[in-house]
């Protein structure tokens, strides 16, 4: 579990690290949409090249990156297997009961596998190179137009950043509580389902009570420092659209056009 990279942030100083979070978010969305336009080896090949380029530009070593998303491979294989076994159309290669594999389903399965991998890789690059709080800032900037229709964007962004801020804290607390209960004789993850559920209680009750404590303390601290959500708040971190954002956007756009042009 320790090498699991999905959803993690790796501080660094690369080209992608220095891009502004809103453009990274936008390009990630753009890339995910483009993936669904690809439908032949050439277009998938173009996208794989772009992903490899992105990993290179993020300064993260490729073997480490691949090892980090390895735990997700089973989930993907499971989904792909369903797709392959239940597909219809094309020449039947193998048949057993309700399962059948056709040449068409094999090709589709392969594509779905690549799609999954691409989506996971691009979102992993996003989270690896962008601090959680920067992601929240990016979301806030992108949602800003919604303010016009009275969506409380700032409050939502604040909630998001607070939630993200407490993920590591709660993870630490979970480790501590687990260790404490382990030394009081709890075996986590062994025994029957009933026993496992029972062993979750000594873990979950302290975690929830801790989370509520945090929420109360934080709200008191915020109010003590004069926080209200009504005023226009200035920001500590301001992100500017830089040349590197423009260049990256152009590259992604060209790739997008290529994919649409070469799809069959």
């Amino acid at each position: 579990m320790n090498n699991f990279l999905f959803g993690r942030y790796l501080p660094g100083n690369s080209w992608i690290h220095k891009m502004s979070p809103q453009s990274k978010l936008l390009l990630t969305f753009f890339f995910v949409i483009i993936i669904f336009f690809a439908n032949n080896p050439l277009t998938y090949g173009i996208l794989i090249c772009l992903i490899l380029l992105s990993i290179l530009m993020s300064g993260i070593s490729l073997p480490y990156f691949l090892k980090g998303i390895q735990p997700l491979i089973w989930l993907i294989i499971f989904t792909v297997a369903l797709q392959v076994l239940f597909a219809s159309g094309g020449k039947v290669l193998w048949h057993w009961g309700i399962f059948s594999i056709t040449d068409q389903s094999l090709i589709n399965g392969g594509y779905i596998f690549i799609r999954f991998m691409l989506i996971i890789m691009i979102s992993t690059i996003l989270t690896l190179t962008t601090a959680p709080l920067a992601i929240a800032d990016g979301v806030q900037t992108l949602l800003h137009p919604l303010k016009k229709i009275k969506v409380p964007v700032d409050t939502l962004a604040l909630m998001l950043s607070i939630a993200l801020r407490f993920v590591p804290t709660l993870m630490d607390e979970m480790t501590t509580v687990m260790n404490a209960q382990r030394s009081r004789g709890v075996d986590f993850g062994t025994g029957s389902l009933r026993q496992r559920l029972k062993s979750a209680v000594p873990l979950l009750v302290p975690l929830f009570s801790g989370a509520i404590d945090h929420a109360e303390n934080l709200s008191v601290a915020m109010e003590a420092r004069g926080f209200t959500d009504s005023e226009h708040r200035s920001k500590y971190r301001v992100y500017h659209w830089q040349n590197r954002d423009l260049l990256s956007a152009i590259i992604f756009l060209i790739i997008g056009i290529l994919v649409v042009y070469f799809r069959s």
């Binding site: 090498n3 501590t176 404490a180 004789g185 075996d187």
Partner: protein, 286 residues
């Protein structure tokens, strides 16, 4: 084997082979004798908590081995069969009040003994003893732990560990955030357990006064290494070494150092308040 604790060249790396890789414990070797009272000091991040979590195999060494309570903990030791070890090594974590979860105080204290196979009656007796030891009134037994004050909850949590009747008791900054009276009471209780029931105590602390007042031996850690292991005179008798390693001197030692600067002669630095009082009364007599 005995209930001593032997560390042999123990190193621990958090998240090895990753950019987060961090050597938290570096080649630590020492032996804690049965019935000893050992304090572990060192500034924040020096590896104290990592070290004590090895004592009941919550963490396993990346290299090296630990011999403790008829058990050998090695990198490849499996998680099974550790229950017997954990039964005998009680562990009080930082802010242990955060681990309470049961509906009533007594149930929470009974949780540990019951997990280690005690019957309801045995666990209840042990829990009541532990409550009395730590100074919790028996009227609190049926209250919810979430209704108690912070200090009381801390005591409930510690009682939960004491009720397991550990032969080795590890405490990670148990007095942080307690009032002065709560602090002395807790430390007196630990000392009493150490003296009357020969419980081996390992105490992680930042309070140098507690170290010189209570501990028989001291482990000094810096940057993941055990840099000194000795009694309080061996550690604090050399103030310049203590300062060089970002540690504080106990207040009595600071006072005697100030006296020394003003011409008072000391054979050995007074470390505890008692030693200092003796010295000063001698000075006044002459």
């Amino acid at each position: 084997m005995d209930n001593g604790i032997t560390f042999e060249k123990v190193s621990h790396i958090y998240q090895p082979n990753s950019p987060f890789s961090h050597l938290a414990l570096n080649n630590a070797s020492f032996k804690i004798e049965p019935g000893d009272f050992v304090a572990i000091i060192g500034h924040t991040g020096s590896g104290k908590s990592t070290l004590v979590q090895h004592i009941n195999a919550l963490l396993k060494p990346t290299t090296g081995q630990i011999l403790i309570y008829n058990t050998k903990i090695q990198p490849e030791t499996s998680n099974k069969n550790l229950k017997q070890l954990r039964h005998h090594v009680g562990m009080v974590f930082q802010f242990p009040e955060n681990q309470l979860f049961e509906e009533t105080v007594i149930k929470d204290i009974m949780f540990g003994p019951k997990n280690y196979g005690a019957s309801d009656d045995e666990a209840r007796t042990a829990a009541k003893e532990a409550m009395q030891m730590i100074g919790l009134e028996s009227s609190l037994a049926d209250k919810s732990p979430f209704d108690l004050s912070g200090g009381q909850r801390r005591r409930v949590a510690i009682a939960g560990v004491l009720a397991m009747k550990p032969e080795i008791l590890v405490l990670d900054e148990p007095t942080a955030g307690l009032d002065p009276r709560g602090r002395t009471r807790l430390l007196d209780l630990i000392t009493n357990l150490n003296q009357t029931q020969k419980v081996t105590i390992v105490l992680v602390t930042h309070q140098m006064e507690d170290v010189v007042d209570y501990a028989k031996k001291i482990i000094v850690m810096d940057n993941g290494r055990v840099i000194r292991f000795g009694n309080s005179q061996e550690i604090f008798g050399d103030p310049s070494w203590v300062k060089a390693h970002h540690l504080n001197l106990p207040r009595s030692a600071q006072f005697s150092l100030a006296l020394k600067k003003n011409g008072v002669k000391f054979d050995r630095l007074a470390l505890t308040i008692d030693q200092l009082a003796d010295k000063v009364s001698n000075l006044v007599k002459h």
